[in-house]
Symmetry: C2
Subunit: 402 residues, 2 copies
């Protein structure tokens, strides 16, 4: 088998952890597999580099920032190659440009365009484990780029896709994908498998196991992924296109996102184009919104509420207030003490019973619902932050424990 393994920054944070990771890699190699490994920067390395830049300037050029940050992964792969060699496992480290990882020129958030598997293939043929620096590539000018959030996961999936790997293993500090966050819901169960789409919904809902970007890429190229722990040697959760029993309504999990806030624009004119006016302002500022609720008109006015990342709240408020006259609203109402709770599962749209079960669970736990949103495979509700723990447990009990 050809296996691509990816280890994150906390898994390679120091010499001891690197040796553990090397042990996992060595076992995969000794089992007869060809192994390509993608590593992130060690622990706080990236933060330390950002701090170094901050001492020089408050607005570093993105190109130079990428030049700076790309060193972190380079350190990881070199050290891991040494750790493997110390165990007698032949290995070689390669940078983004050495594996032809070509990206666009969006420094700090570059997108992969192509990768050239030639060098990796040659090294594998020599019997070596190949360690590739995650998160980095080069653009058409041969300048260093970095891939932004979830970059190393994306590097791993891109290599797995291009080389037709049998499996892309993403090692994390959890044992797999759970029906809910085990820290919040003690009875949460680990899933054996999950579809790409369900994983996408869970990830976007705040279950930060995999980054959406890597799952999207895996889905597009049909790369089977496995989420598993770098601390416990156990099978994890397989992410793939179709899972067994797809025809049944199958709830994969309950996700929760606390990092959001809600903005309500009150007293908008009840006329066509009003939503466009509002969201044009936010799009111009590159602010992503998530749930949107447009109230039914009343006395010629209406309200529009939406959720967004808590970190974007003040930016959005300021942008909207600056355009108050142009948009035409009475006032802005914000709330950052809220939480989004989502139930995710394939085939949900065809089973209205799922929504009913969710609402029943919340009602019995005396939790108020502020907004509701549904999609093919998920139902999300907005609730007060201080009710989130109770709500999670009640919903998990309803779907997985009864």
């Amino acid at each position: 088998m050809l296996i691509v393994q990816k280890f994150g920054g906390s898994s390679v944070a120091d010499a001891e952890k690197l040796r553990r990771v090397a042990g996992i890699i060595a076992d995969a190699k000794k089992a007869g597999n060809d192994v390509v490994v993608v590593l992130s920067a060690q622990g706080d390395t990236t933060d330390d580099l950002i701090a170094k830049a901050a001492e020089i300037t408050s607005h570093p050029s993105k190109r130079e920032m990428d030049m700076l940050l790309a060193t972190g992964e380079q350190i990881s792969i070199a050290l891991c190659a040494m750790a493997l060699q110390e165990m007698g496992v032949p290995s070689v480290s390669l940078l983004g440009w050495q594996v032809g990882m070509k990206t666009n020129s969006d420094y700090g958030n570059a997108r992969i365009k192509t990768m050239d598997p030639e060098r990796i293939r040659r090294e594998l043929e020599q019997g070596r484990v190949v360690l590739v620096a995650g998160f980095q590539g080069i653009n058409k000018h041969e300048d260093m780029t970095t891939l932004g959030r979830g970059g190393s996961d994306t590097t791993a999936v891109a290599i797995a896709a291009k080389m037709h790997a049998d499996l892309c293993q993403i090692y994390t500090d959890v044992e797999g994908v759970y029906t809910a966050d085990p820290r919040l819901v003690p009875n949460a169960r680990k899933l054996k498998e999950i579809t790409y789409d369900e994983m996408l919904e869970l990830a976007s809902m705040g279950a930060q196991v995999l980054h959406n970007r890597s799952v999207e890429l895996a889905k597009r190229y049909g790369v089977p992924m496995e989420v598993l722990s770098s601390y416990v040697r156990k099978p994890g959760t397989i992410v793939k296109e179709v899972t067994k029993g797809m025809e049944e309504t199958k709830i994969s999990g309950i996700a929760r996102d606390d990092k959001i806030a809600r903005i309500a624009l009150v007293g908008l004119k009840d006329e066509p184009g009003i939503a466009y006016k509002v969201f044009r302002v936010l799009a111009r500022e590159k602010i992503n919104v998530d749930l949107i609720l447009q109230s039914i008109g009343r006395n010629d006015t209406q309200d529009i509420s939406f959720t967004l990342a808590k970190t974007e709240l003040e930016h959005a408020r300021a942008a909207l207030e600056a355009e108050q006259d142009a948009i035409g609203f009475d006032h802005i109402n914000v709330n950052d003490k809220i939480c989004k709770l989502s139930v995710v599962g394939a085939g949900m749209i065809n089973r209205p019973g799922v929504a009913v079960l969710l609402f029943e669970a919340l009602a019995s736990a005396q939790v108020n619902i502020r907004m509701i949103s549904t999609s093919e495979i998920k139902i999300s509700v907005l609730i007060d932050a201080d009710a989130a723990d109770v709500a999670m447990r009640a919903v998990h009990k309803k779907f997985f424990e009864e």
Copy 2:
């Protein structure tokens, strides 16, 4: 003018020092020059990386060590580019492979084979200061290599040579090349200029201002160098092929090397080929020797003495003792409390008076001479280490103060 500037690790150790360096670069640029800058890794970065590797293995692969160490210079150039941009000076950082710095495959001590000035030229044409990572290159396999000691100086001279730069400035923590080490000889004078050959002799004598390797390269391609301070804005010392007044006997300086030891093989057979037998052993062990003295035979036996780096002493002694029977000597005598003192100056060979002045100075200071060696442009004497300070001052006084 096209100027190549090189700043060492202590000059770029932190944000404040980087800003000072950026100020020097900005001034050269504003004066209308095209400026290419080569930087070393910040302060202790390289040592920190070596320590990281040591936590993993006591015998890291040299290839992976180069992959690891090359990150240090990358951090420096990115941060310096940011500092220049903060000052409004357009700049761009480039890695070894991005400037086509091709080396052989001797990891950790690679030799430059070619460099491709194309990318640098294009950036200069855009009005940018170009910051190049020193110390690094790639080999024919496109693997990262590092150049070993004096690597960044060599990078700077190589670029200056290839691009026909008007001047290659090496910024250090001293103001130039002195007639003797100013810490030892308070009356030492800074030289306005010095020839490559004189600089080579001074450098190899322990005056660690420039690395021989970079001076040799500069001499081969006729690159004018300037040694100057990154802390004091003053002209430094120019190193070039021919200096004014070359026909006169001109003593450039007095150098001192404490890092040496002497080995004497006593009771060798007085027969042809004996020196070959001795030094073949040392060559096989890759031990460099410096001064060699072969005594005149007496009672069919003779002695051979030589000096070598103190760090090689035990290695050399063990290697020779292991071959005692094959070489055929009575016993080994070692001394690591010695010092080499050298007077360097062009045209010396034709002026026997120089040697006489040196011996006179040492005699009047009551300093015993253990060995003597002469070349085209230098006279070296081996003396006891505890007499070195007195000897330095006496010789400097004789040549520069009388």
